[in-house]
Amino acid sequence: MMNKPNIEIVSLTKKFGSFKALDNLDLQIEGTKCVGFLGPNGAGKTTALKLLTDMIFPTKGECFINGISVQKERKLALADAGLLIESPEIYPSLTPYEGLEMVADLRGVPPREIKDRISEVLAEVKMESWADKKIGEFSKGMKQRINIAASLVHDPDVVILDEPATGLDPRGMAEVREIVRKLKKRNRLIFMSSHILQEVTEVCDEVALINKGKLLFYDTLGNVIDKFSDGHSSVDVGFAEPVNEALINRGLSAISGVTSSEVLDPKRVRLRFKGGTETQKKLLEEIVGLHIGVVSFSEPSSTLEDIYMKQIERGD
């Protein structure tokens, strides 16, 4: 019996006219964790999430939340899910409190608990002091915060978020990560589309990457990195003066461990190397030893980003 929260997407296909936005997507997610849903603009993420929440209807296939068919029993299937799809608007003449009260009441939160629940989620998105102002006058990011609160007001088991950090300021983005971490601690399943790979790396346990409506891979973050990076890391080296080809070939690429180099701009070179922290330490010492005007080293750029770029390119 499946009593862990779960999401199941079966042969999901969606055509808009003759255009296939989603092509036979299969995805089974089970357990209490955060799954990042990645893919370039137009990949079909929102389309998949809208199908998963019965906003639109599949051309083929079916989705299940906690084993209940979304297409056949929308009401039952969504009962234990918190949704944030496509940055909704809330009736402008309502206040956040009133908007959340509507959601909580329709979802069956007992009347005596509604007030506390609303205060709790508004505090979580740092909007307590705006509870009684009209939403019509809110900024985009403020509205998004209320939307996040609305998806959590009934304390759901499964949380489905479509780019929750859209429109949020840096602190807001950090708060989203914090919210996700808290949800994980409380044994929820979070399925979240995002373009912020740093966010995904930080809070997601697993990632699913889609492109052009097709699933490229779905695995744990660790497996994905092992499988696709072949143990490679990279580091960006900054120079005081523009560097020339000769220097790169003669000096940098010759350093042991370096497998390739790429000129990002005249004063910045990205080096790829095999190995971990130890190799990186030696590498940097050697580069400094070359006395070639190095002024900065930056952290290896997100490994996930490299994998993402490569996988997307392959499909194009």
Partner: protein
């Protein structure tokens, strides 16, 4: 903060939330939709319009002592209440129903509402109920103004029975007009289309259609809703045709429907447009 620090905390409390039944969700949704209506500028604007109409009416009656108040209370209420409420109904239906469904798509509020475990039919019904009750509030304001004048000129005991009898017909006509408005509203995903179409149709489109049918095709225009609305005024004139068939007027086969016939037409409009609108909305995608 109620942060739970143990990583192995079991998930939810044993008692899971039970989503209210559809029968419970409809009035609850209507309640919140009404709140949203009552707090909107649109509601305020309509109150101002209706009060202004009422004030102008009262002033004209007072200053010019029109034939309204020199005759009996039946023709007073017939001319003011029965003659004016139709326009108020159409205004209310357009204001609260014209974009009730289309607005959910255009303004993206639909994504908020549909994120709740709720059937599409419940959303349609709840919004309909809210628009209906809000319209009733507007009509009540108009009714109060007419009644105020009536009591002033004819006293608090001169209420003709037609006045009471007209109330359920007013409600029925409101249902028919709202049903039609909601249907148009769910035909489009752009609010303006629904608004424009309902305004054009109800303010003169249907009347023109009615005349065209009667004069050109030479049949009774029973299929046009504005034709049925004539029974509101007919109720206050005599003799009253209670029947299911029309009184034949100067134009061949057409003057106005019998009261029962008008009621049937209104009921038909309400039921058919409600079914059609519901079916349409069930298939609508929030793309």
């Amino acid at each position: 903060m109620t942060e739970i620090t143990t990583g192995t905390e079991t998930s939810k409390p044993a008692t899971r939330l039970k989503v209210p039944s559809t029968a419970q969700q409809i009035p609850r949704l209507a309640h919140y939709q009404m709140r949203q209506y009552l707090q909107s500028r649109r509601f305020l604007a309509l109150v101002v319009i209706v009060v202004a109409i009422g004030a102008i009416f009262s002033a004209v009656v007072a200053i010019y002592h029109s034939s309204f108040i020199t005759s009996d209370s039946v023709s007073f209420y017939g001319g003011s209440w029965a003659g004016g409420v139709g326009v108020v109904i159409v205004l209310a239906a357009v204001f609260f129903g014209g974009d009730a469904i289309a607005g959910e798509f255009q303004n993206k509020t639909g994504y908020f509402l549909m994120s709740v475990p709720i059937r599409r039919a419940t959303v349609y019904a709840g919004k309909f109920l809210a628009a209906f009750l809000t319209s009733v509030a507007i009509i009540t304001i108009f009714f109060a103004i007419v009644l105020g004048n009536g009591i002033y000129y004819f006293g608090a005991s001169a209420f003709p029975w037609q006045l009471f009898f007209s109330l359920p017909i007013v409600i029925l006509y409101l249902l028919a007009v709202l049903g039609t408005t909601f249907l148009f509203s769910s035909l489009f995903k752009t609010s303006a289309y629904g608004f424009v179409l309902t305004i054009i149709l109800f303010l003169f489109g249907f009347t023109i259609l009615q005349d065209l049918v009667a004069i050109l095709i030479k049949i009774e225009p029973w299929m046009v809703i504005s034709y049925a609305s004539g029974i509101l005024s007919d109720l206050f004139s005599s003799p009253i045709n209670w029947g299911l068939t029309a009184t034949l007027g100067p134009v061949p086969a057409y003057d106005s429907p019998g009261i029962a016939e008008g009621v049937v037409i209104m009921l038909g409009y309400f039921i058919l447009t409600a079914i059609a609108g519901l079916l349409l909305f069930e298939r609508e995608e929030f793309k």
